[in-house]
Amino acid sequence: MEGLYAYCVLGNIYDNKRILLNEGIDPKFPVYVINYAAFGAAVSKVSLAEFGEDALHENIQNNLKWVENKARSHSFIIEVLSDNHDVIPFRFCTIYNNEHNILKMLQNQYSQFCELLEKINNKSEWTLKVICNIEKFNAKIVQEKSLELDRQLLSKSRGAAYLLKKKFDALIKEEVENCLTSSVNSIYNSVAVKFGEDIVVDNNPVHETADKNIRCLQKWSLLINKNHKDSFLGKIQEINRTISQEGLYIDLTGPWPPYSFTVLNNKEEK
């Protein structure tokens, strides 16, 4: 038994059933297009012994190697397709029983897919994490502030000097937070606002590491025009050269298909 794995909507007109890639997520079957009006869906056959509901559940529960292999394969196929076409990526493991159901889905979402394709035309997604090595960042501030404190202590009485020293730790903490906010705002303005045609801010950024000194301060997904890619990358490189001395760096991944910018407004249209 076989199903149809749907990768993405393709925003250009194709000959129906044209082969796009020789190997799909199930490498026995090629990726081809199913047309509907002005766009199509990139799909490939998959064996339901591997991609059926029970098999999927089993693989996800107990086979992380399978998940990694298929996740990278899903992502890679959409990326390759996005090199030459506008794509609206579907979520991992979206599988249909037959072509008729895929056509029905394309028909139901027709107007929203048209709007999204217009929005993402010639653009791709980049993800930026502003990462901070807190120990390094703190050390720089402590060094600067200690010099300032020493100067201030010279002109103070013994009592005032004692109180000033007591406040030092709190001052440092406040200064660190102020400097971090200021650095993040500066990066946001010079990168996200300048290059991003749309921005999605992740309010709960996670950077998976057990190192307690490494903190992810901010995470943004940006929709960037493909024509501006070089100047965007140049800017990131320039900023990283400057901020690395402070214990900060921008962790950049991309170009991704526009996963964060292709959200449907509602459930399937009727």
Binding site: G3, A6, V9, L48, F51, G52, E53, L56, H57, I60, Q61, L64, V67, E68, A71, R72, H74, S75, F76, E79, I88, P89, F90, R91, F92, C93, T94, I95, Y96, N97, N101, M105, Q109, L116, T127, V206, E208, T209, A210, D211, L233, G234, I236, Q237, L252, T253, G254, P255, W256, Y259, S260, T262, V263, L264, K267, E268
Partner: protein
């Protein structure tokens, strides 16, 4: 600045975040359940943190095992080359003794 394909160069956590949390959700006939997605996200974070934690406390044997890490192979090659040199020198000495040179 060269950037490799995101799907190959990014961490599995980053790839999964994109393809599980983002992208268009349409009502496929078969799809992963929300419970499975949540479980998977937790598992990935645990695996990554476990590897980092192990390295932090000095457990990193897989980095120096030539069977598991290509970077460890030059060390092994160097060791074997030195051993061959020692054996060749020893053989030369024995041979010259036997020949009475």
């Amino acid at each position: 600045m060269s950037v490799a394909r995101a799907s190959q160069s990014s961490s599995l956590a980053d790839v999964l975040e994109k393809i599980l949390d983002k992208g268009v959700v349409v009502a496929g006939d078969i799809k992963i359940s929300i419970a499975d997605i949540e479980l998977l996200t937790i598992k990935i974070r645990l695996v990554i943190c476990s590897v980092d934690k192990a390295m932090e406390i000095g457990i990193n044997w897989w980095q120096t095992d030539p069977h598991l890490n290509n970077l460890a192979k030059p060390e092994e090659d160097k060791r074997l080359s030195e051993k061959i040199e020692r054996l060749e020198a020893q053989l030369a000495r024995v041979t010259s003794n036997l020949l009475g040179v």
